[in-house]
């Protein structure tokens, strides 16, 4: 409640101080800092409750258990709806504090309105936690249960520890440029000032979303057991759309900064991007579309939808009322200019987003018009997104080669020659040495990606050469120096290179994948591509949480030993299953632990679907026996009599109950272990999915390179602050520039 009041006060104080009453603005800023501190306390309290297994908190009881590994207890907060909302509000308070600290002496007209928008959104999320049904993270349960329900097994993966907060941080960081855009619209300060202030926040949001997407893809690849990293799942798409729009925004704001153009476009783009970020939050929690990520029914969906409507309607009215001020100061001088390429790249990115949006919401659209929910599958998405992605790769290479304003034909020839030659040469070599040309889209993407990589390498080379002419030294050192002094530009180039490499990985692994489902008995083999896979033996492991059935696969390539892989399938016992029911292991979730051998040329990916029919039959018989045992039916073994006596006593004396339960659990574990080990003797066949994914490792490497580039672009250039102050003393242009 105190956090809610603080957020409301911050918004109101900012609006009171909007005409320059500095005291109110300072008080408002302090309220934002205080909100950040209060929400930090909230998060710390919740995390302490998780770490200490305090099941009196409903949130802890429903999303953790004594068995949950400590590592995942810390991440369990954001697996819940109420924890996610707290995370949203907390990250927003951190981002808002950072933005207000950075602008404490700048943009004094815009900041009050931006503060009001940021705190209005914070009020919304804190208010949801307080007043919406079943989303208060501090709700308690009495009496506190002895154990919790536990964390969904699918989420017990290292990527899942970081993936949700990364995505949420990305969504939330987009609030900052949106809030300043609204502030600029209200105050009619529509030059590039709000962009200069918030550009870094947009880049941070882009980076967080990128990390989140990459981790999500990695989770899908290694945990979901279907063999891919991207399924065009609605929630995946919901994270991809704001990332694509943010990519467009980061390019188009450069055009406004440099040329005073695309003002309407930029405010519209950031509104759409922020709305898509809210939509992402809505989709994860609403359950409105079928998704692997929809982890439960939501009570907040309609409220978030309401917020999206307010954002869209409010922003549209504001933009429409400011159209005169939003007119471009200049026009594009030439199509052979960087701004022209940025416009094309923006159109491609928005088109890509529109396609994904249509495909994602098609089930709702079709239901609206036909009454039936029809989904669009991955091939539909691939069909429409592939050509757009290929064109984007091409423009990833063209953009950096062009200067702003215009490039003459002779200069263009000079800069395009080598990248074009290298791309053509690379394409020819590829066609000669492989059968890549049988997939024309993939082949085109490879050639364009070669072009982009050659263009970017040339940029580094030419920049280094130019630097060496001025400062001397070796070319590599000059390249490093020029990149260090122009971090925005060269960080961006590294991002482009990373994206080109990432798309090579995607194109190769999706177009040239060898995929085979084989059913083998121990000792049998099957060929998949260049590999020979032999099912050596089955494996079993049993613990209190899960039964795990797997296989050891011996893989040879060209007759030589290549790898020993151990895929398995884990069957989790749902918490709350009746004590003593071994069959309950098969009533919960199951996860696939893949057997993976990675390599720079290709990955060999395997998953197993064990035939557990025999085990399940024995388990059913054991469960029947156990029930007889509890009822003390005639002919039950002696240990049953002991357990039965203990249970009768426990019914009379509750203090004996834990001992009885422990004995039953022990008996159950031993029985489960014995039954599961019977699986080893069955010699049963298992079905394996074996996938050879060429160049897929380059997808992850490309992603990491892109993120490294983004960090370089985010990092401030050294000395910028000092230069700003000293130049204030009357330094003149030439001296300032020569210092650069």
């Amino acid at each position: 409640m105190l956090a809610l009041l603080t957020a409301i006060f911050a918004a109101v104080a900012a609006l009171i101080g909007r005409h320059g009453e500095r005291r109110w603005i300072d008080s408002s800023r302090r309220a934002v800092y205080a909100l950040c501190a209060l929400l930090t306390v909230c998060v710390v309290v919740i995390e302490i409750a998780f770490a200490g297994d305090d099941f009196s908190f409903n949130l802890v009881a429903e999303h953790s258990s004594l068995e949950t590994p400590a590592f995942y207890k810390l991440a369990a907060m954001w697996s819940s709806q109420e924890g996610s909302l707290l995370l949203w509000a907390w990250v927003l308070s951190i981002a808002s504090s950072a933005a207000l600290f950075a602008t404490r002496n700048r943009l004094r007209e815009v900041v009050p309105y931006a503060t009001a928008v940021m705190m209005g959104i914070a009020t919304f999320f804190v208010g949801l936690m307080l007043f919406a049904k079943n989303v208060n993270p501090f709700a308690t349960v009495s009496p506190a249960p002895a154990d919790g329900v536990g964390l969904t097994p699918l989420l017990q993966h290292p990527s899942m520890m970081i993936h949700p907060p990364m995505l949420y941080s990305g969504y939330v960081a987009l609030t900052i440029p949106f809030a300043f855009a609204v502030g600029a619209l209200i105050t009619r300060r529509l030059d590039a000032a709000w962009i200069r202030i918030t550009r870094r926040f947009a880049l941070i949001a882009w980076t967080f979303l990128g990390i989140g997407l990459l981790l999500g893809a990695r989770w899908s690849y290694t945990e979901l057991g279907w063999g891919g990293y991207w399924a065009w799942d609605p929630v995946e798409n919901a994270a991809l759309m704001p990332w694509l729009m943010c990519t467009a925004f980061l390019h188009s704001i450069m055009v406004q900064e440099k040329r005073g153009m695309l003002k309407v476009w930029n405010v519209s783009l950031i509104t759409a991007t922020f709305s898509l970020a809210l939509l992402g939050t809505f989709l994860v929690r609403s359950g409105v579309l079928q998704s692997i990520h929809a982890f439960g029914d939501s009570t907040v969906g309609p409220y978030i939808l309401g917020l999206i409507a307010v954002v869209l309607v409010g922003s549209t009215v504001l933009i429409a009322s400011r159209l005169d001020e939003l007119r471009s100061e200049k026009r594009i001088d030439s199509l052979a200019s960087r701004e022209a390429v940025f416009v094309v790249n923006n159109l491609l990115l928005v088109a890509l987003t529109a396609v994904i949006f249509w495909g994602t919401f098609f089930p709702l659209i079709s239901e609206l018009f036909t009454g039936e929910k029809a989904s669009l599958a991955a091939p539909w998405f691939d069909h429409y997104t592939t050509p757009l992605a290929i064109l984007l790769v091409l423009f990833t290479g063209i953009g950096p080669l062009l200067a702003w304003r215009r490039v003459s034909w002779s200069s263009a020839k000079g800069v395009f020659l080598w990248p074009a030659v290298l791309a053509a040469g690379g394409g020819a070599v590829l066609a000669l040495l492989s059968d890549a040309e049988r997939k024309p889209w993939a082949f085109a993407l490879f050639v364009f990606a070669f072009f982009a990589l050659a263009a970017l390498a040339q940029e580094f080379w030419r920049g280094g050469r130019a630097r060496r002419e001025v400062a001397g030294g070796s070319i590599p050192m000059a390249m490093l120096a020029v990149a260090a002094r122009n971090r925005r530009r060269y960080g961006g180039y590294i991002v482009h290179a990373g994206v080109a490499i990432l798309l090579i990985g995607i194109a190769a692994s999706s177009s040239f994948q060898t995929n085979r489902d084989v059913t083998l008995r121990p000792g049998q083999s099957a060929g998949v591509g260049d590999y020979r896979v032999t099912y050596e033996r089955p494996t079993v492991s049993v613990d209190r949480e899960a039964l795990s059935f797997g296989a050891v696969l011996d893989v040879k390539r060209d007759g030589k030993e290549f790898a020993l892989l151990s895929p398995s399938r884990r069957y989790f016992r749902p918490t709350g299953a009746p004590t003593g029911s071994i069959g309950s292991f098969f009533q919960g979730e199951s996860t696939s632990e893949v057997g993976l051998k990675t390599g720079t040329r290709s990955d060999l990916w395997t998953a197993v679907q064990p035939n557990i029919g025999g085990v399940q039959r024995r388990v059913r018989a054991a469960d029947r026996g156990f029930r007889d045992c509890v009822r003390a039916a005639p002919g039950t073994p002696p240990q049953c009599s002991a357990v039965n006596a203990l249970m009768r006593n426990a019914a009379a004396n509750p203090s004996l109950r834990p001992i009885a339960l422990a004995q039953i659990n022990d008996l159950q574990s031993r029985t489960a272990d014995r039954l599961a080990r019977g699986f080893l003797a069955e010699n049963a066949a298992a079905t394996f999915r074996v996938i050879v994914d060429p160049l897929v490792t380059w997808m992850w490497i490309g992603g990491l390179i892109a993120l490294a580039g983004a960090l370089i672009a985010i990092w401030p250039t050294p000395g910028a602050g000092r230069r700003r102050v000293s130049s204030f003393q009357g330094a003149r242009l030439g001296r300032d520039l020569s210092r650069a």
Partner: protein, 105 residues
């Protein structure tokens, strides 16, 4: 006990947040002049543009003629910004100027 914690927290937050409002008549926190700060930011952006153009020229993307045109235009825009900065500095409140003097290396 929980109520006590709540009251203490409320008092702390109120003291921190309301402090600027309670200092009636006290001089406002001295900050950088917003007009100067914005002009400085615009000047920095213009310098960056000039450096970018120089780099584009040095790396062969701009012909000599295009570079001369663009560089001259950008420099004249930068000079205009510097003039506005000088004017704004003359008009800036004394405390802001004093602070800036103090910060100079």
């Amino acid at each position: 006990m929980e109520v006590l914690y709540g009251v203490v927290l409320l008092a702390l937050v109120a003291a921190f947040v309301l402090r600027p409002l309670l200092r009636e008549g006290a001089p406002e926190e001295v900050g950088e002049d917003p007009v100067l700060a914005d002009l400085e930011a615009r000047k920095e952006a213009k310098y960056r543009e000039i450096r970018d153009t120089q780099l584009d020229h040095a790396s062969g993307k701009l012909s000599e003629e295009d570079f001369r045109d663009q560089d001259a235009q950008l420099r004249s825009e930068a000079v205009e910004l510097l003039n506005r900065l000088d004017r704004a500095r003359r008009d800036a409140p004394a405390h802001a100027s004093a602070r800036i003097e103090g910060e100079s290396p």
